[in-house]
Structure formats: C-alpha cells, structure tokens
C-alpha cells in the first residue's frame, strides 16, 4: 500500500494544480508565489540540514576500507579504497559522486542447490542510477534556457546533443526517455526485489513517483498537450521570476501549472527527504575521512578536558585529610607555626 499511497499523493497534487490554476487570479499563486516559497524552503532547508549534520562530531576515523590500507613499503597500498592522504580522499569522493562506485560494488548473495552460496556484483542498480541521475542533471541544466536571458551558447550545445536524433518537432530529447526509464526501473526494483521491497518505505516510493509525475507532465506539455503552451510566455514568466519582476503575459495551459506545482512540491519536500543524499554524500564520514587510524591519533571531540594528576599532586591536595585519617604520606605535613 505504501507505493499506492505515493501515487494517490501525486494524483492529488496534480488535481490541486490542474483545477486550482483555472480559478481566476490563482495562476499568480501557482506561477509566482509557490515557486518562490518552494525555493526558499529548498535553500533554507538544505543549508539547515547540512549545518545540523556538521554539528555532530565524528569521534573516530570511521571510513569504510575496501582494500589494503597503507602499511609497510612492500605491501601494496590500495590508494582509492583505503585513502591515506587528502588527495586520495578527494579522488575517492570524486569517483563516488561522479560514477557511484559504491553502487558498482553492490554485492548480492544467492543460494543455489547444493547448497552453495555465491556472491556476485549486481550492476543493475548502478546502471539505473547513472542513467537516472545524469538524465536529471542534463534536464535541469537544459531548463536554464528558460531562466537565462540571453541564453549562453553552451546550453544550446547541450540541447543540440540531447536532441541529436532529431525525432519529431519539437525534437525528442534522449534524457526524457532516460529519466522516465531510470525512474521506472528504480521504482520497479523496489517492487520486484523482495528484500528491497521489505525495507522500502513511503518516503522511498513517493519521490520516485513525484519525479515520474514531473517528467511525464513535462513530456506531455512539450509534445502532446500544447494548447496555450507558448514558450515565449513561459520564458517571460521564468525570467521574471529570477529578476524579481514576474509577469504572466497571457494565459498558460493547465499542464504547465501542474508541471510547475509538482516541481515546487519536490523542492519543498527535498530537505526533509532522503533526496538529501545529494548533500549527504559529501558529508559521509565513511567516505570523506582518511584511513589513518593507526598513523594518527584521533581524539574524540566531546571528551572532557582531563589533566594528568600525579600522585605527588594528589597528596599535595589531600595531605591534611590523609594525615588526619592516619594514612601514610610520602611527605610529612609542615610543622605548625603556632606550636613554637
């Protein structure tokens, strides 16, 4: 039911935007007020989450090592899997962020008749994730043509590359298919793989369905439901939004507001969701720390400041009481002056 509920939630969002934007005056709510609000929640929320994470101390070097750490000279050091210097950590992080190396590993164990257990790297997740994330990135960058005025030439290059097949008019984008396919595959993985389904929650399904809805509404708007979709009007609104002078020049079709409202929902939901892994990947101590737990002493930052207290110092502090209690002391009490 968790996944069905996600669909219901997205359908409800679509209905709110589709019907709401048809009420006179409401286009300004859906086209201007909500995008600003959503972006502020997104920015503020993301910064807040990262600052909260940064406030948690990381007591020890807890990186995950997946290879031989630096040791004696004749033992080969695995520089990426057990990084010893900052440069090696940067290289490891870079490959993690750009190529998702930990998903590439994704070991899967299976039991066959015999009984025999096998361990094999399952590459599907890695592949879906790559397709999905890179399609998403290209789509976001491509949308900048609606916000930037004049449009920088590299965005045209990106668009040209994305629409390289020149199928139909407006041209089909490769990344549109990539995003839809990626989301569909990541979603079906959660349904089909039994143990992944078992641990999947509403907040795993919902973003996938929401992103699917965004992609679908965008595709419908671009290719199929073109009534009142005048790109010049839309760009005027988008440029207006980022120059703080938004205007809705003429009537824009409901599908545009649906698309925009779903994006706003995604932006506002972002900081409170698992989608924060975009910042979390930079903050993972298992990835961003050096494998120097033997070479360097890591001191727990929340340790209280305890100074060394020698026996001589201890006796100095408590000598009178010790003498009173009849405990032998190494240094006797100084003779009292009033007895003289």
């Amino acid at each position: 039911m968790k996944y069905a509920f996600s669909f219901l939630a997205v359908i409800a969002l679509v209905l709110i935007a589709g019907l709401g934007s048809q009420i006179p005056g409401m286009p300004y709510l859906f086209g201007v007020a909500l995008p600003y609000l959503a972006l502020m929640i997104f920015l503020g929320g993301c910064v807040y989450r990262v600052v909260q994470w940064a406030k948690s101390p990381v007591p020890f070097s807890i990186q995950t090592t997946c290879g031989q750490g630096k040791s004696l000279d004749f033992i080969k050091h695995d520089r990426l899997e057990a990084p010893n210097t900052t440069a090696e950590v940067v290289a490891r992080m870079f490959l993690e962020i750009v190529t998702f190396r930990s998903l590439f590993r994704n070991t899967k164990s299976e039991i066959y008749d015999g009984p025999q257990i096998t361990y094999e790297s399952s590459k599907w997740l890695w592949m879906f994730a790559l397709i999905f994330h890179y399609s998403f990135l290209v789509i976001v960058v491509r949308h900048m043509r609606l916000f930037l005025d004049p449009v920088p030439v590299w965005i045209s290059w990106l668009e040209y590359g994305d629409g390289l097949f020149q199928v139909g008019a407006p041209t089909w984008y490769i990344t549109d298919i990539g995003l839809l396919a990626g989301v569909a595959l990541l979603f079906s993985r959660r349904l089909i793989t039994r143990h992944v389904r078992f641990i999947s929650l509403m907040n795993d399904y919902f973003p996938l369905v929401l992103i699917f809805g965004i992609a679908l509404s965008g595709i419908l708007m671009r290719y199929f439901l073109r009534t009142d979709i005048d790109i010049v009007n839309i760009k005027q609104l988008a440029v207006g939004l980022v120059t703080f002078s938004p205007t809705i020049g003429a009537e824009i079709g409901a599908i545009f507001y649906i698309h925009l409202f779903l994006v706003c929902a995604l932006l506002a939901y972002f900081p409170f969701s698992k989608l924060m892994h975009f910042a979390g990947v930079f903050m993972s101590p298992t990835r961003n720390m050096k494998n120097t737990s033997r070479a360097k002493r890591h001191i727990n930052p929340w340790n209280p400041r305890i100074l060394p207290h020698s026996y001589a110092g201890y006796e100095d502090e408590f000598r009178e009481f010790m003498v009173d209690a009849g405990i032998p002391v190494e240094k006797e009490l100084a003779p009292k002056k009033d007895e003289d």
Binding site: L146, E159, A169, K235, M283
Partner: protein
C-alpha cells in the same frame, strides 16, 4: 560546528549554484520579450488561429514535411476557402517573408534552433540564388 573550513565554502558554492540564474540575469543585458512581426503584406488569415499556431506550428510543419516528402502527399490544404500548398517556403513564408523578424526573434529568445533552414531558404536567399544562376 565541525569542519567549518570545508563545509561553509561548500554551502556557499551550493547556494551560488542554485541561485545562478539570479546572478546571470543581474549581470547580463536583458532582451525584450519578442513580438512577432505580422505579415508585411497585411494578410489576416492563416491555416490555424494565432494561439494554435504559436503553440504548435512546429508539429504542423513536421506533419507536412512527413506527408510531402515521405508519403508524396502534396495535396494543398484549404482553410476558409483559401488554398495553401504544404510547405514552409510555399505557404508560411509567402506571407511571413522576413525570417529574422518572424521566426528568429522568438527562436533566439528561447534558444530553439530548428533545422528547417538546413534545407529551406528564406525568400531573400531564394531570390539571391535565382539571380546568380
């Protein structure tokens, strides 16, 4: 807060990245929202209404291209008693003669680069060709 020296610059980069359109537009000269030039000849009628054409002229042209070039269907379209031959040069640019003012003004504004003119010629370019040959 720990690791301030990496986290604060990281957050600053993130915020700058997300708000990139703000900076870009603040430091660039804004172009005016384009208004397409109406046909110089004064024609008032087109194959479809203005809003329909504005939204989906590219789909119509694509359809015409497929019909003409792939299926050989050069049958003219008749709208409100007026006959239009299927084609960018034969129909559209008969009235909208100025490509720069009619097509390009919007296309450049929204960074659309249709490949019509890989094959087609604008009326001025076509006239020039005739002269040279």
């Amino acid at each position: 807060m720990y690791n301030k020296r990496t986290i604060i610059p990281g957050l600053a980069i993130f915020v700058l990245f997300v708000t990139f359109p703000l900076w870009f537009n603040a430091f660039s000269t804004a172009s005016t929202v384009p208004k397409t030039e109406l046909p110089p000849g004064g024609e008032k009628q087109c194959v479809a209404s203005a809003s329909e054409m504005r939204a989906s002229h590219m789909a119509l042209l694509n359809e015409w291209r497929d019909e003409v070039l792939r299926d050989g269907g050069r049958i003219a379209v008749t709208v409100n008693g007026k006959e239009y031959r299927k084609g960018l040069q034969m129909a559209c640019m008969q009235c909208h003669t100025n490509k720069e003012k009619f097509c390009d003004s919007c296309h450049e504004y929204v960074s659309v680069t249709p490949y019509c003119w890989d094959c087609h010629l604008t009326p001025t370019a076509a006239a020039e060709k005739k002269e040279t040959h």
